[in-house]
């Protein structure tokens, strides 16, 4: 499929500070792509360059086959939703939403209709004549969303739009935005530092670190098959275990831990003798009284276990590494000191790049 938006070898310096380094990324039409990373990882800067608020130091941004580096923001036809809403305080809700249509010289009657439809879409029809200062944060953000969608831009850019909302409202808005994306077939680039938000909403997630993309893939790929240690640690929780590769065969590696135990792990690229990290997701670990045949088992001892409502969190120690296991609600209690085996499938244990 042809790429709709392409960042081609984008580099951005602020003075001597390199914020985005030689970054290449393609986004397809109708796709929902999240740029996920800690603050200062360059994800917002990339969005600002796409919106035209910043210019790349080098590299090219191509939209629909045309380089847009020299195109000013107001001609880019992109709807931007800001974290702080950026509603015009001197205009009513309706006037805010009508603004982009007025800028495009849309006929008055059509503006009326489209504003009404946009308000209906975000379920705020009753608040058309209110001032932004009279709305709650969630309502303001829905107005900002309606304003960014009403002129049917070719791309919608969202810069941490839900960051200022409380948890419950944020989750509702996540589902609302996901629904709008599907219904309207929007192309959305969404910046967030919240990994669960990125996993919930996106078709693909690009994980940023220090101005580079560490990994890009579907939520399932970046969670289940983290390419780097940074991705494994940033997305969800994981157990990282260090070991030396003994031998590799057919995408599987046998890794020897310092304690002498060996684990069988999925490996995309590993060579014998290499020191590597293994990533094991806590919820993929099972506890059992005896060694599980066929698969990995480590002999461990329970140091603590905490009941957290939806799961039981068990801290384990073995001669090589402490481990954390998350067990289903139905599992039995494990008092500290219990000797037990931690077992997991070879598929759930991955060799990741150091």
């Amino acid at each position: 499929m042809a790429e709709f938006i392409r960042f081609d070898q984008i580099t951005k310096f602020y003075g001597a500070l390199c914020v985005v380094e030689n970054l290449t990324l393609g986004i397809e039409k109708g796709e929902f792509v999240s740029l996920l990373g800690p603050s200062g990882s360059g994800k917002t800067t990339l969005l600002m360059m796409l919106a035209g608020f910043e210019a790349p130091t080098s590299g090219e941004i191509v939209v629909n086959g045309l380089a847009i580096n020299g195109v000013p923001t107001h001609k880019r036809d992109m709807g931007v939703v800001f974290q702080s809403y950026a509603l015009f305080p001197h205009m009513s809700v309706g006037e805010n939403i009508a603004f982009p249509l007025q800028m495009r010289g849309t006929a008055r009657a059509e503006i009326e209709q489209r504003v009404a439809r946009a308000l209906d879409m975000v379920q705020l029809s009753a608040l058309r004549d209110r001032w932004p200062s009279q709305l709650s944060g969630g309502q303001q953000q829905r107005v900002a969303l309606a304003r960014a969608l009403v002129f049917e831009p070719r791309v919608v850019l969202m810069d941490e739009p839900l960051g200022a909302l409380d948890k419950q409202l944020r989750e509702q808005m996540q589902l609302d935005i996901r629904d709008l994306h599907r219904r309207l077939g929007l192309t959305i680039v969404f910046v967030t530092h919240d990994q669960s938000e990125a996993l919930t909403m996106s078709d693909r997630v690009a994980v940023f670190n220090k101005g580079k993309i560490e990994q890009i893939g579907t939520p399932r790929q970046v969670y289940d098959q983290p390419a780097t240690r940074f991705v494994a640690e940033f997305i969800g929780e994981t157990n990282l275990v260090e070991g030396v590769v003994e031998r590799v065969s057919g995408g599987e590696a046998l890794v020897k831990l310092p304690s002498g135990a060996t684990l069988c792990a999925v490996a995309d690229s590993a060579v014998a003798g290499q020191t590597v990290h293994l990533s094991i997701r806590p919820e993929r670990i099972d506890l059992s009284d005896s060694r599980r045949p066929g698969g990995n088992s480590l002999e461990t001892e329970v140091t603590d276990s905490v009941y957290q409502g939806d799961h039981l969190r068990v801290q384990l120690k073995n001669p090589a590494h402490p481990l954390i296991a998350k067990l289903g609600r139905r599992s039995q209690e494990y008092p500290p000191g219990t000797k037990i085996y931690a077992s997991f499938a070879a598929d759930d244990c991955r060799v990741i790049a150091p």
Binding site: M78, A86, P89, M103, W131, R147
Partner: protein
């Protein structure tokens, strides 16, 4: 309950210096000025006997013997020569000729050999009712003649209000000139101050400090020094003309001083901080992302400015304009030093009446007119600013 009352009393005590200050330096002088403008007791104080008799006079018939005797008695009793001077000045301003008439009459009635039998024997003019009418009119303790004169009106012989003849009516012209100069200065300040505040608000770090410092610096130097500096700069052989000539911008020196141009240049400079600071303080409260948002919604820079930034900064421009305009109306030193005779503003006239002719009544009346005009302007501004939408 008692504790509460004592706390209230204590807090009132803390506010007491403020109240005393306000009353002493603000309310009292203001009331004093206003009552000066309507009080008219210079004649009444010296002529109590005449006042009693003149109330029964019909203002037409020839002055009776009692009236003349009462006036003679009053004038004989006068000891205070300064009060006498005030009275003569007051009567002379109502009817010319009183000065010579009174001088002659006073010296005649105070003759140690005894006063003459009647006033007509001193001067024939005492036969005419006009002089007696002038005295009768001056006997009321309150008058509207100062206030009327301040707006170029007066009372004719019948007591009706009418416009003063053109040779006596300069106040309205000067008032209009004052407002016109103040308006020009306000426009000039807005034209320079708004872009300046925009730049200052968008700058960061030392650049912002420098820009604001450059605005504040004039506020920290004396008004007189600043005006004197302009005096030097604007002269025919001053720095500005030398520079323009050296750059061949002009072939002959421009007339920049002792005319309207100089007054407006100097006043704009002096009053610029009062525009820049309110505008700046409003601009920095405008969220930084509104202009990018407008651009992303398809607004070209100019339209984004007109639709978003300008309406949001109007409040600052309005309060800055009001501040500049009201300050400009009362300007005295700058037009006096840099302006020509045709650029004197209402304050110069007030100063002329107050210090030049000791006519406190006229000075007070012009002050009242200025105060009323300013309050009217302010109420218009308050009305406009309270109607601003989106500020719940």
């Amino acid at each position: 309950m008692t504790r509460l009352r004592s706390r209230t009393a204590r807090s009132l005590l803390l506010l007491a210096p403020l109240f005393v200050f306000l009353v002493w330096f603000f309310v009292w002088p203001l009331v004093g000025m206003m009552s000066q403008s309507v009080s008219d007791s210079a004649v009444l104080n010296l002529l109590p006997r005449s006042a009693g008799i003149l109330t029964n006079w019909d203002r037409r018939s020839a002055p009776s013997a009692e009236m003349q005797q009462a006036l003679i008695a009053d004038l004989r009793a006068v000891q205070d020569t300064q009060a006498l001077g005030d009275m003569v000045r007051r009567l002379n301003s109502a009817r010319s000729g009183f000065r010579t008439l009174m001088t002659r009459t006073v010296s005649a009635v105070s003759d140690p050999a005894g006063p003459p039998a009647d006033l007509v024997s001193i001067d024939k003019r005492w036969e005419k009712p006009e002089f007696w009418i002038a005295i009768a009119d001056a006997l009321s303790p309150y008058t509207d003649r100062n206030l009327l004169a301040a707006i170029d009106f007066g009372r004719n012989a019948e007591g009706a209000i009418e416009k003063l003849p053109p040779d006596q009516s300069v106040n309205l012209v000067i008032m209009a000139r004052t407002f016109w100069i103040a308006a020009l200065v306000t426009v000039a300040c807005a034209a320079i101050g708004f872009p300046y505040a925009l730049i200052a608000a968008s700058a960061t770090g030392w650049k912002r400090d420098l820009l604001l410092g450059a605005v504040l610096l004039p506020l920290w130097t004396s008004l007189l020094v600043r005006t004197a500096a302009w005096f030097i700069l604007l002269q025919e052989k001053g720095l500005i003309n030398d520079l323009l000539l050296a750059l061949h911008v002009t072939s002959a020196p421009l007339a920049l001083i002792f005319n309207r141009t100089g007054v407006i240049i100097a006043m704009t400079h002096v009053l610029l901080p009062f525009m820049v600071l309110p505008v700046y303080s409003v601009l920095i409260t405008i969220p930084k992302n509104l202009m990018p948002a407008a651009a992303s919604l398809g607004a070209p820079p100019w339209r984004a400015f007109v639709r978003v930034l300008l309406p949001l900064s109007l409040r600052g421009i309005a309060s800055g304009s009001l501040l500049v305009f009201i300050s400009a109306i009362g300007y005295y030193i700058t037009p006096a030093l840099i302006g020509g005779p045709g650029d004197q503003m209402i304050s110069s006239i007030i100063a002329f009446y107050a210090t030049g002719t000791a006519n406190w009544g006229m000075a007070g009346a012009l002050g009242v007119v200025l105060l009323v005009a300013t309050l009217l302007l302010y109420s218009v501004y308050a009305r406009i600013s309270s109607e601003e939408p989106g500020r719940a």
